[in-house]
């Protein structure tokens, strides 16, 4: 029997490198100016799955992402780095999903795969930083969760020992399968793409990609990245997208800075000496 690991991954706008052109003149976010990347902690999660695969025979690592069709890019990247299978979960009905609706959808995809030993994902995605989807998927699947995983200390066919990174230290825990793990950025970084795998998988596309590109669908069946929509997973339509999301965005405020009465100084010794004297006279220095 296979040992099944699901890795949950997300394509995110690279909010860490917000350049000057990331904001439009009207103060809204210019999404197209931000490159779409593999969420950093999901790469740590993939690496953890691949390390477990090295220790447990007959392990199958399946990467799942929920997102638009272009998110298939990170599924191919997961295959290049060592995942065995990939599934794109996509549907216009998913638009506007908050973490609760997202975790419902991901839990359906995991259930559709069948018997699963481990579900592994990054602790949080950099576009929201909520860290909610992991624990919520675990709840939907009714399995235990291990958050902030840093290292797999021991893994057998029956259970796993994980070192967790807490705010002030570490904790070693043990749990039997199935369980869900969220991986902290302090875990080992992901291995690089494998050239042979790039050659093998670069022509793997989802059905939607083939249609969008007007490719003549001659691809052999096993060269296809699986693609599931809401009805493929027998989803309850009320639990998807906006209607399945209890959180609503009431309003969005663009950041407007209030200009203070600002004293501008140069880096000259004279200016800095005056500044420090000013601070000292105002009792601002010292405890």
């Amino acid at each position: 029997m296979n040992f099944n690991i699901i890795v949950l991954i997300k394509q995110v706008p690279d909010t860490r490198n917000v350049g000057k052109d990331a904001m439009k003149s009207d103060g809204t976010v210019n999404r197209t100016a931000l490159p779409a990347i593999f969420n950093p902690e999901d790469l740590n999660a993939l690496e953890m799955a691949l390390r477990i695969k090295e220790q447990i025979p007959n392990t199958v690592v399946t990467a799942i992402t929920m997102g638009p069709v272009r998110a298939a890019d990170i599924l191919r990247e997961a295959l290049y780095r060592g995942a065995d299978k990939a599934v794109l979960v996509t549907d216009k009905k998913f638009a506007g999903s908050d973490t609760l609706a997202t975790s419902y959808i991901l839990s359906l995809a995991i259930k559709k795969i069948g018997r699963v030993n481990l579900v592994i994902g990054g602790r949080q995605a950099i576009d929201g930083d909520t860290a909610q989807v992991g624990p919520q998927v675990a709840e939907k699947l009714n399995i235990p969760q291990i958050t902030y995983a840093e290292e797999v200390v021991k893994v057998t066919n029956d259970n796993i020992q994980i070192k967790r990174r807490l705010e002030r230290g570490v904790e070693l825990v043990e749990v039997a399968y199935p369980c869900l793990i969220t991986v902290h950025s302090s875990a080992p970084p992901c291995r690089f793409k494998n050239a042979k795998k790039v050659m093998k998988y670069k022509k793997y596309y989802t059905v939607s990609e083939q249609q969008n590109e007007n490719m003549n669908c001659i691809s052999i069946l096993d060269r296809v990245i699986e693609e599931w929509n809401a009805s493929d997973m027998n989803a309850n339509m009320e639990m998807l997208g906006l209607s399945g999301s209890p959180t609503k965005v009431k309003k969005i405020d663009n950041i407007v800075l209030v200009q203070k009465d600002n004293k501008l100084l140069t880096a000259s010794e004279y200016d800095i000496a005056l500044l420090m004297e000013d601070l000292s006279n105002n009792h601002l220095l010292g405890k």
């Binding site: 973490t99 609760l100 909610q132 405020d253």
Partner: protein
Amino acid sequence: MNVFVYCEITEEDAFAEVSLELLSKGRKLADKLKVKLEAVVIGNKIANPEEQLFPYGVDVIHLAEDKRLFPYTTLPHFSIITKLFQEKRPQVALFGATSVGRDLAPRVASKLRCGLTADCTALEIGEHTDTKTGKVYTELLYQIRPAFGGNIIATIINPETRPQMATVREGVMTKEIYDPNYKGVVEKLQVEHYISDDDFAVKIISREIEARKINIKNAQIIVAGGYGMGSKENFNKLHELAAQTGAEVGATRAAVDAGFTESERQIGQTGVTVRPKLYIACGISGAVQHRSGMEESAKIISINTDPNAPINSIADYTVIGDVNDVLPKMIKAIMNTKIKK
């Protein structure tokens, strides 16, 4: 339909600072909503919760004690909270955005199918009119947080579901005694009624907890470095200046991510929030996530090569220049003023 706060027990068997801060916020929300404030305390042999919590204006303490409930593991705490919430139907439930709160709250929200907003920087009560249906909702919890890499501030609401849940980082809300003689009641929970053996699927084998060393939260003066510091070595200059001014060293997330310093020093939405009397921002451009953690500083000095850096607009003084040039000059100037005195 009251306001509930999950009160976390620390390694030192005390209540977490963030929980006390949330009780203070919770009391204000409860007063506005004209309801009670209830605390949920889950652990093992907790010393005097009444004495410690009632002064914050707590009306009811729900106390669950069992030797298996400390140290924290997810499932037993999750089972107690979800069943308690199903019984008591709170309208607002607040959790610290700690490694415990961020592990627990999402699972609770999933089970109860209610909305949760992480890392809120403000909580208010307000109303809402649904533009489609025209339905008016009163007394909703506005959950306010920076979003999308901090380029926008979002106000999130949960019109239909209860409880309205939020997590908040330590230091965001202000801890204050409501009434030193305030008295509430303690309701002891029959733990066996709430948990089952299955809740102990995760076993803790060992723990290594470090003492809290760095304390930037209570520092009066903070010298903080950003990505513009350039290197770990340059961060040493911040420590030099800090030593001369009685300051603590802080950092932005970018500086922490770049490995310039420890994550305990991170200030901002995903770090700690500080309100020192003086904040010296060195090589910090001033993304909103960072500003939200320091903008209430009494005096702000920005040192930056970029005259248009966003931080400058909230600074009282801006020094245009390279931090590695300016910092030694500042240190020298301080030595000189000290000699004069």
